[in-house]
């Protein structure tokens, strides 16, 4: 990690400021964010800032709220009881305050997940609950709710030589020519001990994600820094009746719904007025890349088969050379 000093930032002259790339954004943070690649000082002007400060218990004039959050204009308040409160302003500024009795080491993983997810939505980006690898110069995304097997599949593909682009959260930009691209951020994988053992990744195991959890950062085999054009999106499903194992291409309406349901988080899409944006993105992505469902048994023993189906599918849709 590269630390910046004294760029007029942070609570005191002794504080270190870290500069990271998060989903294509340069982010200056007074808190070390494990599992991210650092950026070199002076390489980029920060797009967003993370710093400690005072965060209110509630917002005045909230227009929408949930059990843990409030939205008021350009301000978004997230409260994780017993851990921390986060205030996000205008897609640029994140202020965090630890709750009484909390462990400061618990804060970064929530910043890297939900908090950045909200920030990216404030910036009107398309953000999916997805892990991604690179295949033949294209980004391949696997999306689904927590426990769907995104990280395990990305880890297994990374072991097979496909570089990891991102884990758990994936921002997509669509340029003026209508080309969707994915911004990697060199994030490490987060895997449960069960997955680490079953995938034989013990040697790559890093720090615990949180002290109380048997979930660890895992260094992937290879990563990428540059934006990568989107190749395909697979929504992951467990092969329970009546779903049969296999890869299918849903119709346009279903594809749009799949994309929105796999937003990080669908509630934000609705509350931040982005439904139309996701609908248009689904059309663009379906045309430029492809939206598919991948249904398989949620069983590590089946992983080699699943990778086999994927590689066959990638040959079929022209992402990989056909075998000689």
């Amino acid at each position: 990690m590269h630390a910046l000093r004294n760029i007029g930032f942070g609570p005191g002259p002794e504080s270190k400021v870290h500069l990271y790339c998060v989903s294509g954004l340069a982010v200056a943070s007074d808190l070390a964010l494990p599992g991210l690649n650092g950026l070199e000082a002076g390489k980029a002007t920060p797009d967003a800032f993370v710093r400690a400060g005072t965060v209110p218990e509630a917002l005045d004039g909230a227009s929408a709220s949930g059990p843990t959050w409030q939205l008021a204009g350009k301000d978004f308040l997230l409260r994780i009881p017993g851990i921390a409160r986060f205030l996000l302003h205008d897609g640029r500024e994140i202020t965090y305050e630890a709750e009484a009795g909390s462990d400061a080491a618990d804060i970064p993983v929530f910043i890297l997940g939900t908090v950045f997810g909200i920030l990216l939505h404030q910036r009107k980006q398309i953000v999916l609950h997805a892990s991604a690898v690179q295949v033949g110069g294209r980004a391949i995304l696997f999306c689904g709710p927590s426990g769907a097997g995104k990280s395990s599949l990305a880890a297994a593909l990374s072991q097979r030589g496909y570089p990891l682009l991102t884990d758990d959260i994936c921002a997509i930009s669509i340029d003026a020519q209508g080309v969707p691209t994915v911004h990697p951020d060199g994030r490490q994988l987060k895997l449960w001990t069960q997955a680490i053992n079953r995938l034989d990744l013990g040697a790559s195991r890093g720090a615990r994600v949180r002290r109380q959890l048997e979930k660890f950062y895992v260094e992937p085999e290879g990563t990428r820094d540059e934006a990568v054009p989107l190749g395909a999106i697979y929504a992951l499903f467990d092969a329970r009746p009546p779903l049969e194992p296999g890869i299918e291409q849903p119709n346009a309406v279903e594809a749009a719904l799949l994309l929105r349901r796999n937003a990080y988080r669908p509630m934000l899409v609705h509350r931040l007025g982005q439904r139309a944006g996701y609908f248009h993105a689904a059309t663009t992505i379906a045309n430029a890349a492809g939206i598919y469902s991948l249904t398989r048994r949620l069983d590590f023993a089946d992983m080699p088969n699943v990778i086999g189906w994927l590689e066959q599918h990638w040959r079929g849709i022209g992402l990989m050379e056909k075998a000689a």
């Binding site: 843990t68 017993g82 851990i83 449960w192 979930k215 934000l268």
Partner: protein, 304 residues
């Protein structure tokens, strides 16, 4: 929208009850598909609705942290704020029934886990003779009858908890023994309860269902109830499971028999006298309270 919990210890007829409701909701003469029971939020311990309304990844929270947020989440969900479908309001039935195997417990700060009156308007508590539950639970868990009885006799058992090295698609559910579970619901004073005995459902399904629906203030004709009873007949559920599998069955059992016998009193053939005694020694007071007559004599109970 009204929310009614369908609360039961596992293997007590909850799925059958939900199939009856599914057949009520449709006006066709084709039986409702066992794999079309509502897939999202069908059980109170589902991970997805929690993540949806909190914006959090519950996989990053401990069981206790999740439990401390659940009262807020259930209160939110009872408002109908799922927000993830375009037409949720127009298609929603008048009463939202949600299955739960959670005991009626309180969080460390003393709030009811299921949010009391804020979480639901009432609960239909389905109970079944524990001697029949035991063999059904053993089949469901692919474990021995003795292990099933040990689980039912434990006052600190739980489902989807205990292991911290992986993620479960449901939250930890506290099951303080068969008696403890039922007592937790019968003793709470937050919401009204309607008790349904599985054995009464078997004996007169239409009458049991009609009474439960009256409690839930779900207005439906007797003809519709009779049709639902016919369409959700146990042999029909078994037929569908054999033909297509049941998505809610345990993984080891996907091509097996979730809908196993569905009988009342089969324990007389399936349990040894010692197994019967182990259950009755632990649960006789609650069994008597619910009208399940223990058969173990005092002497055998002591030696068992």
């Amino acid at each position: 929208m009204r929310t009614i919990w369908l609360a039961s210890y596992p293997k007590s007829g909850n799925t059958w009850f939900r199939m009856l409701l599914a057949n009520l909701a449709s006006d066709s003469d084709t039986p409702a598909d066992i794999n079309e029971l509502p897939r999202r939020g069908h059980i109170a311990s589902s991970r997805e609705p929690f993540d949806h309304v909190t914006l959090l990844d519950s996989g990053l929270l401990t069981d206790d942290e999740i439990d401390s947020l659940r009262p807020l989440v259930h209160a939110e969900l009872a408002q109908g704020n799922l927000d993830d479908e375009d037409n949720i309001d127009t298609e929603a039935p008048p009463v939202h029934f949600i299955k739960t195997h959670d005991a009626y417990t309180r969080t460390v700060t003393g709030e009811p886990l299921l949010a009391g009156r804020l979480g639901a308007d009432g609960a239909i508590l389905i109970v079944r003779d524990p001697r029949d539950v035991a063999s059904s639970w053993a089949n469901h868990q692919s474990c021995s009858l003795d292990d099933a009885i040990t689980f039912m006799n434990s006052n600190n058992a739980e489902m989807s908890g205990g292991r911290r090295d992986r993620i479960f698609n449901q939250f930890r559910q506290i099951l303080p023994g068969w008696s403890g579970y039922i007592e937790s619901w019968l003793e709470q004073r937050d919401i009204p309860i309607h008790l349904v005995r599985y054995e009464d459902m078997k004996a007169d399904t239409a009458m049991s269902l009609a009474r439960a629906l009256a409690f839930a203030r779900y207005d439906v004709s007797l003809d519709a109830i009779k049709r639902a009873v016919r369409l959700a007949d146990f042999t029909e559920l078994q037929r569908q499971e054999r033909a297509k599998g049941f998505r809610e069955a345990p993984r080891a059992q996907r091509d097996g028999n979730f809908f196993r016998r569905g009988e009342a009193g089969a324990w007389r053939e399936e349990l040894t006298p010692e197994q019967v005694a182990r259950i009755e020694n632990e649960h006789a007071p609650m069994m008597r309270r619910l009208g399940y007559v223990p058969v173990t004599s005092g002497k055998r109970a002591i030696s068992g």
